[in-house]
C-alpha cells in the first residue's frame, strides 16, 4: 500500500509551470482582496468576501505548495486538527467576549 502511494506521489507532483500558475492565481487573489478593500459600497459584505478569498489562498498553498493534495491523508489530519481547533477556540472566545454583539 505504501509503495503504491509513494509511486503516485512521484507522478502526481505538479510541475514548475503549475507552481508558477498557482503563484499567479495567488497574486490575483491578493490583488482582488486589496481591490475589494477599496470598494466602499460593499459595506459589511466585505468581511465574508475577504474571508473566502483568503481562505482560498490558504487552501491553495496548503494543497499544492505543501503537497497535502498528493501526500498521505494522515498529514492533512494532523494539520487540519490544529487548524480547526484554533478556529473553533477563536470563535468561542469572540462569542464569549461579545465582540460582535
Amino acid at each position: 500500500m505504501s509503495q503504491e502511494l509513494s509511486a503516485e506521489e512521484h507522478t502526481g507532483h505538479p510541475t514548475a509551470g503549475q507552481y508558477f500558475r498557482i503563484a499567479v492565481i495567488l497574486c490575483v487573489i491578493t490583488a482582488v482582496e486589496v481591490g475589494v478593500f477599496y470598494v466602499e459600497f460593499l459595506g459589511h459584505w466585505m468581511i465574508p468576501i475577504l474571508f473566502v478569498l483568503s481562505a482560498s489562498k490558504f487552501t491553495l498553498v496548503a494543497m499544492y505548495y505543501m503537497h497535502l493534495k498528493f501526500d498521505h491523508k494522515l498529514f492533512t489530519y494532523l494539520f487540519v486538527a490544529g487548524f480547526i481547533l484554533a478556529a473553533l477556540i477563536i470563535s468561542f472566545l469572540l462569542l464569549l467576549f461579545g465582540v460582535y454583539s
Partner: protein, 618 residues
C-alpha cells in the same frame, strides 16, 4: 566519513553517570523520568504537609500567610507539572515501545532532550523557593501576577519554568505521536493497540494542541511584566478575564492529560488480574477520544462565577455534564471486565480497584459543580479541593501507583514484597479518605480555599484536625511504598519475564528487557496477542522476519549523544538569564544560554542518528 563537521567523538560510556547523561535508551529515560518525578512528588508532598499542619487547628501560626500562599501555589504547580505529568511520561517512555513491539521511540535524542528539559524546568521552579516562590495560585490569575501586585522574582520563575516544561512536554508529545503511528510492529493495527498506548496517544494529541495556548498566555504575561505591555492591564483597557480564558482553554484539556494515562494504566491492569479481555475495547477507546474532544468545550466551567452570563453558563453546564457520559462508560467497562473474572487481588490490582472507587467519588462531586447554580455555592470553598484530590490523588496517583507496581518486575527485573504492597495500599486508601473526605464537609460549611488560618468559632476545626491526621497515615503509606520499591529494586527476588500472566507484548520479553527490547520484531495478529500466544495457538510459531536474530548482534540501535543534554542546559541558563536579566550585562546570561542551546541544536541536527563508520564495524 560522517557529515558531522565538528569532530567531537560520539559518547561511549557503558557505565557510570555519563552513560545516564548521554543515554537515549527509552527505558533508561523512562526510569530517569520516574525517579525525578517521584522526588518532585515528595517535595510537593512536603509542601502539602506544611499546609495541613498549619490548618490542623484554628489560628495556628506555623507558617506565615505569605509563605502559605507560596505553599499552595507551589504544591499545585508541582503536583500537576512536576509529578503527575512526568510520572505518566515515565510510563510512556518505558512502556509504549515495548507494547507496540518497537526497539526505541521514533526520535531517541528528542526523547533525551525532553527529559533534560523537564529536569531544567523542575529545578527552575523548585529553586525559586530561594528568594520567595510564586504565590498567585497554580492558575496565576491576573492581576495577581502583575508587577504592581507581585514585584518579586517568584512569578518570573513560575512563568519561565512553565515555558520550559512546555517545551519538554511538546517534544515528548510529538515524539510519542510519531512513535505510536509509525513504529508499530507488523500487524499491530491501531485497533489492536493496548489500551495504555491508546490513551497515551490521545494524551499526546491533547498536549500538542493545548500547550501552545498556555505558551501564548505566558508570553503575554511575560511581556506585561517585563516590558509594560497592556494584555492584562485594566488601566489601559486590558481584560483580566482573557487570562482566565486562555489559562483554562489550556487548563481543562490539561486535566484530561493528567487522567487519561491513568485510565490507560487501569485498563491494562484490570484485564490481567481478572483473567479476562477488557470488556468493550472499542468502546473504551472511543470514550477516551470523546473525552479528549469534549475536553475542549468545557473550559468555562472553571469560570462560572466570573459573570459570563446565563447563556454561557448554561452551555458550559450542559457540555460539562455530557462529558460525564463517556467517563461513566469507561467505569462500566472496567466493572464489566471484573464481572465474572477470576480475580487476583495483587497490589497493582488493589490500586486499580481503589482508582475506580475514588475516581467515581471525585466524578460525582464533579457533576455536582458542573451545575453552575450549585457551583456558585461551591466555588472557592474546600469542596473543590475535595473533588480535585479525589480525581487527582484518588484517581491519577492511585493509577500511577498501580502502574509502578504492575510494571515493577519489568523495569527493575525484581519482585516487590506483595504483603508490604498490600499494607501500604490500605494505608494510602484509608489515609486519603481521612484526609480528603472531611474537606467536603468544611467546604459545604463555607470554609474558603487558600486561607492560611481560620477562627476557632467557625466549626471547622474538628474536620480540619481529622484531615491533618489523615496526612500522617498517607505519609506512613508512602514511606512503606518507597521502602518496598527501593529495597526490592536492589535486593528483590529476580522477576520472571511474565510474572502476572500478562496480555501485552512487554511481557513476552525478559525482565528487565535487553537494550534492544525485541530480539525479533514480533508479528501481531490480534488484540492481546501475547495472551493468545500463550494459549498455544500454533500459528505463532512462524518466525518473524523483522528481527536480526542472534542475541542482539546486528541490531542497529541509535547511539548516545551529548547534544540533547547540552541543548537543555542552554535552555536552563537562558531561563535564568531571563529572570535575572540585569545581571552584569543586561540580558547577557540569556544570550549566552541561547547560544549554547543553539549550538546544541545545530550540532544535534548535523549529527547522524547512527555514525556510518560505527555501523560498518559490526
Amino acid at each position: 566519513m560522517s557529515t558531522f563537521p565538528i569532530s567531537i567523538p560520539r559518547p561511549v560510556h557503558p557505565t557510570g553517570i555519563w552513560n545516564w547523561v548521554t543515554t537515549i535508551d527509552h527505558k533508561r529515560i523512562g526510569i530517569l523520568y520516574g525517579v525525578t518525578a517521584f522526588l518532585m512528588f515528595l517535595s510537593g508532598g512536603v509542601e502539602a504537609i506544611l499546609m495541613r499542619v498549619q490548618l490542623a487547628g484554628p489560628e495556628l501560626d506555623i507558617v506565615s500567610a505569605a509563605v502559605y500562599n507560596q505553599l499552595f501555589t507551589m504544591h499545585g504547580t508541582t503536583m500537576i507539572f512536576l509529578a503527575v505529568m512526568p510520572l505518566s511520561a515515565a510510563f510512556f517512555n518505558f512502556v509504549i515501545p515495548l507494547q507496540i513491539g518497537a526497539r526505541d521511540v521514533a526520535f531517541p535524542r528528542l526523547n533525551a532532550f525532553s527529559y533534560w528539559t523537564f529536569l531544567a524546568g523542575a529545578l527552575m521552579l523548585k529553586l525559586s523557593w530561594i528568594g520567595g516562590a510564586t504565590d498567585a495560585g497554580w492558575f496565576g490569575y491576573a492581576p495577581l501576577t502583575s508587577v504592581a501586585q507581585n514585584p518579586g522574582t517568584g512569578i518570573d520563575f513560575w512563568i519561565i519554568s512553565l515555558q520550559i516544561l512546555g517545551v519538554a512536554s511538546l517534544a515528548a508529545a510529538f515524539n510519542f505521536i510519531v512513535t505510536i503511528i509509525n513504529m508499530r510492529a507488523p500487524g499491530m493495527t491501531m485497533m489492536r493497540l493496548p489500551l495504555f498506548t491508546w490513551m497515551s496517544f490521545i494524551t499526546a494529541i491533547l498536549l500538542v494542541l493545548a500547550f501552545p495556548v498556555i505558551t501564548v498566555a505566558l508570553i503575554e504575561l511575560t511581556f506585561d511584566r517585563y516590558f509594560m505591555f497592556n494584555f492584562f492591564n485594566v488601566a489601559n483597557g486590558g481584560s483580566v478575564v482573557l487570562w482566565q480564558h486562555l489559562f483554562w482553554v489550556f487548563g481543562h484539556p490539561e486535566v484530561y492529560i493528567l487522567i487519561l494515562p491513568a485510565m490507560g494504566i487501569v485498563s491494562e491492569v484490570i484485564p490481567v488480574f481478572s483473567k479476562k479481555p477488557l470488556f468493550g475495547y472499542k468502546t473504551v477507546v472511543l470514550a477516551g477520544a470523546i473525552i479528549a474532544f469534549m475536553g475542549w468545550m468545557v473550559w468555562s466551567h472553571h469560570m462560572f462565577t466570573v459573570g459570563l452570563g446565563a447563556v454561557a453558563n448554561a452551555v458550559f453546564t450542559v457540555t460539562t455534564m455530557l462529558i460525564a457520559v463517556p467517563t461513566g462508560i469507561k467505569v462500566f467497562n472496567w466493572l464489566g471486565t471484573i464481572w465474572g473474572g477470576s480475580i487476583r487481588f495483587t497490589t497493582p490490582m488493589l490500586y486499580s480497584l481503589g482508582f475506580i472507587a475514588m475516581f467515581l467519588i471525585g466524578g460525582i462531586s464533579g457533576v455536582m459543580h458542573a451545575v453552575s447554580a450549585s457551583d456558585a455555592q461551591q466555588q472557592d470553598t474546600y469542596f473543590i479541593p475535595a473533588h480535585l484530590h479525589y480525581v487527582l490523588f484518588g484517581g491519577a496517583i492511585m493509577a500511577i501507583l498501580s502502574g509502578i507496581f504492575y510494571w515493577f518486575p519489568k523495569y527493575s527485573g525484581k519482585m516487590f514484597n506483595e504483603r508490604q504492597g498490600k499494607i501500604s495500599f490500605w494505608l494510602l486508601m484509608i489515609g486519603q479518605n481521612v484526609t480528603f473526605f472531611p474537606m467536603h464537609f468544611v467546604g459545604l460549611d463555607g470554609m474558603p480555599r487558600r486561607i492560611y488560618t481560620y477562627a476557632g468559632n467557625m466549626g471547622w476545626d474538628f474536620w480540619n484536625g481529622v484531615a491533618t491526621g489523615g496526612v500522617l497515615i498517607l505519609l506512613i503509606g508512602f514511606l512503606l511504598v518507597m521502602d518496598n520499591i527501593g529495597r526490592h529494586w536492589k535486593n528483590g527476588e529476580p522477576a520472571p519475564p511474565d510474572p502476572w500472566d500478562g496480555r501485552t507484548l512487554e511481557w513476552s520479553i525478559p525482565s528487565p528487557p535487553p537494550e534492544y527490547n525485541f530480539e525479533e520484531i514480533p508479528i501481531v495478529r490480534g488484540l492481546d496477542d501475547w495472551w493468545a500466544t500463550k494459549q498455544g495457538d500454533s500459528y505463532k510459531e512462524i518466525p518473524a522476519s523483522g528481527g536480526s536474530g542472534e542475541n542482539g548482534h546486528n541490531i542497529h540501535l541509535p547511539q548516545p549523544s551529548y547534544w540533547p543534554f547540552v541543548s537543555a542546559a542552554g535552555l536552563f541558563i537562558a531561563a535564568y538569564g531571563v529572570v535575572f536579566n540585569d545581571l552584569l550585562i543586561p540580558w547577557g546570561l540569556a544570550a549566552i544560554g541561547l547560544t549554547i542551546g543553539f549550538v546544541g541544536v545545530y550540532a544535534w541536527s548535523l549529527e547522524p542518528v547512527n555514525d556510518p563508520e560505527e555501523d560498518s564495524t559490526h
